[in-house]
């Protein structure tokens, strides 16, 4: 019964604090945050610039170390995981979408999507199938032979989404994925995210300070000066 209860949450955070060094100053970006993030929902972390939402997202994405407090990812304590295990989780269970897309410029759209699948050592047919499915999900299959430089900002972000989606991760983490896009394109991206949650049962966690993005969230956490405000 207890296990069933715990599995409802993708992440469980307890008294998490995170600091980073900025020049000679120690900045406390996340302060004593405790929260539970549910599975298969679109969750947003909101707050003004410098509120700690990106730092918190990095902690959830295992790209910053847990310094203080406890983070459980699918009931596993991140503090207890070695680097190799964390690499495996990032490789197979987490998809990332960044504001700057981070596409590989020398690859075509489909090569960009297929690259991390190949790194998962999937069979070639599986890679092709997943690449096609994910590019069709973001309506970019017909652009698969193009290089990122031939695409618009919105299209590039859709490639980044397809790349994250193709991994079939448990969660997609996005750091302001619509910030560099216009309102219309941002809305299209959010529609894709909503579709992913509803149809593909993917959990999505996004940082944003955009009201439009927040309107799509099933649950939203607001941060101010590193503190979680309820």
């Amino acid at each position: 019964m207890y296990i069933m209860e715990k599995q409802k949450y993708l992440y469980q955070l307890e008294n998490v604090t995170f600091c980073y060094q900025l020049g000679n100053h120690q900045i406390e970006a996340v302060k004593n945050v405790s929260m539970d993030i549910p599975m298969e929902e679109l969750v947003t972390l909101t707050g003004p610039s410098g509120s700690g939402k990106s730092s918190l997202l990095n902690l959830l994405g295992l790209i910053e170390p847990v310094q203080k407090g406890t983070i459980l990812f699918q009931n596993e304590d991140l503090n207890q995981m070695n680097q190799s295990k964390q690499n495996q989780i990032r490789k197979f269970q987490i998809g990332f979408i960044f504001q700057q897309f981070h596409l590989i410029p020398v690859f075509t759209v489909e090569e960009n999507v297929a690259f991390f699948l190949a790194r998962q050592k999937l069979a070639k047919t599986e890679i092709l199938q997943r690449t096609q499915e994910s590019l069709e999900a973001v309506k970019l299959w017909e652009h698969r032979k193009k290089k990122p430089s031939e695409l618009s900002g919105g299209q590039r972000q859709r490639v980044a989404i397809a790349r994250a989606l193709a991994k079939k991760p448990d969660v997609i983490i996005g750091d302001e994925p619509t910030a560099s896009l216009d309102q219309q394109t941002g809305r299209e991206i959010m529609e894709i995210f909503r579709d992913l949650v509803n149809r593909h049962k993917v959990s999505i966690i996004l940082t944003t300070h955009d009201q439009m993005v927040q309107s799509y969230a099933q649950q939203s956490f607001h941060l101010v000066d590193g503190y979680l405000k309820h």
Partner: protein, 401 residues
């Protein structure tokens, strides 16, 4: 796909890739041509040394060279004909030159000077030993009582080609014997001490003065100098009382030391060239990797380990190193064979008197070595450039501009 990405990354910034390739190509080209030049120098020098005096090596009785004897002829080889027969049947032996030492007093008019001579098979030797510089007259060749004098000795005696000279020597049984000779020519070796006392006469004439048919030394010319080791072990097994000594040991002071010195010099220059290649590649690859911090951060965020990233960067280094090396070697080979086909005229080497042409001599081993060394330098440079970025905290890499 990583291999494909590494290859495609070469075209990400074509000008920079071209700069790296040219750096590697230039380094490899210099290394390759320098190796070819040194190889040519050493081969030419070896050839000149072999054809100057010693041949590929010499045969003496065991320990003869290391000792000084009151009556050295007691330790000379008997049965010279038998040895000659055996040697002429050896497939690797091309020429056989029997020699004896002839210490004698040389007399011209009222001047008498002692000299250290040699009885040689002059006609045969003239065909093989073309390194001896004749500054007046001609070599001994077939004149039975001709004598070739060192320049110092000829000056001291006041003789010129065509002049008569008397040789007075002790025969092996202690009697004084003398014979009249005609100066055929005057030679110069570059060694003052040697030129002041050296003279050469026919072997038969020397043996007649010494009243012996023994042979002090047999110098050998081989079909290929690589055959020396197998020949010498075969020979010493067959004739345990005799020993064979290669020209490198006989001429250790000049030849072997010069070779060692040149090779040590080459190693230093090789190190300098490799350091330049390493720094050049390091500089270019560093810029390339630094520009891709965010991309590398993204790779790390998607589960790639530090080792995976290092592998990717190393692969790029291998591509750059290998491609640059191949370009360097092919270009250098074409330039050298087209523009420097006749080689470079070099001054006489240590212990030699004649200038010689150095051609760039290439062997596959040099190609592999140049290719390997510069590729390894490229890999090391890439690793050094990549390790800092690969180990950077992921969030920092993603945040970087």
């Amino acid at each position: 796909m990583v291999l494909f990405l590494s290859f495609m990354n070469l075209f990400r910034n074509f000008r920079r890739t071209l700069a790296i390739l040219l750096t590697v190509a230039l380094g490899t080209g210099v290394l390759f041509s320098f190796k070819g030049f040194i190889h040519g120098v050493l081969n030419q020098y070896k050839d000149s040394t072999i054809h100057a005096h010693y041949g590929h090596g010499q045969i003496n009785t065991k320990n003869y060279r290391e000792n000084v004897y009151a009556e050295p002829w007691e330790h000379w080889m008997e049965n010279g004909e038998g040895l000659n027969r055996y040697l002429s049947m050896e497939p690797s032996v091309e020429s056989i030159f029997s020699r004896v030492a002839l210490p004698a007093l040389l007399k011209s008019g009222k001047t008498a000077i002692s000299g250290t001579g040699q009885g040689i098979e002059a006609e045969k030797e003239a065909r093989f030993f073309h390194g001896l510089k004749i500054i007046a007259g001609e070599p001994l060749t077939s004149r039975p009582f001709g004598i070739l004098l060192g320049i110092g000795l000829a000056k001291a005696l006041g003789v010129k080609p065509g002049d008569p000279i008397t040789l007075i020597a002790n025969s092996i049984d202690g009697e004084i014997s003398e014979a009249e000779f005609i100066v055929t020519g005057i030679s110069e070796t570059g060694s003052l001490d040697f030129d002041n006392r050296m003279f050469r006469v026919q072997l038969t004439a020397a043996q007649s003065l010494l009243k012996t048919d023994r042979i002090e030394t047999i110098a050998l010319g081989l079909t290929d100098d690589k055959a020396w080791d197998s020949f010498s072990s075969r020979f010493e097994e067959k004739f345990p009382g005799l020993e064979v000594t290669s020209f490198a040991v006989l001429d250790k002071v000049y030849y072997q030391h010069s070779v060692d010195w040149l090779q040590a010099q080459f190693k230093v220059i090789q190190l300098i060239i490799l350091s330049i290649v390493l720094l050049g590649i390091f500089n270019s690859v560093s810029s390339s990797v630094l520009e891709r911090k965010q991309e590398i951060g993204n790779f790390r965020a998607n589960g790639e380990s530090v080792m995976d990233i290092m592998g990717l960067i190393t692969l790029e280094g291998i591509f750059l190193g290998f491609l640059g090396s191949v370009i360097g070697i092919v270009t250098t080979y074409i330039i050298l064979t087209v523009f420097l086909n006749n080689g470079i005229l070099m001054p006489p080497g240590p212990g030699l008197t004649n200038p010689f042409y150095i051609s760039f001599e290439f062997e596959w081993e040099m190609v592999y070595a140049s290719l390997g060394l510069t590729t390894i330098a490229a890999i090391i440079a890439s690793l050094l450039a990549g390790v800092r970025i690969a180990k950077m905290p992921i969030a920092n890499a993603l945040r970087s501009i």
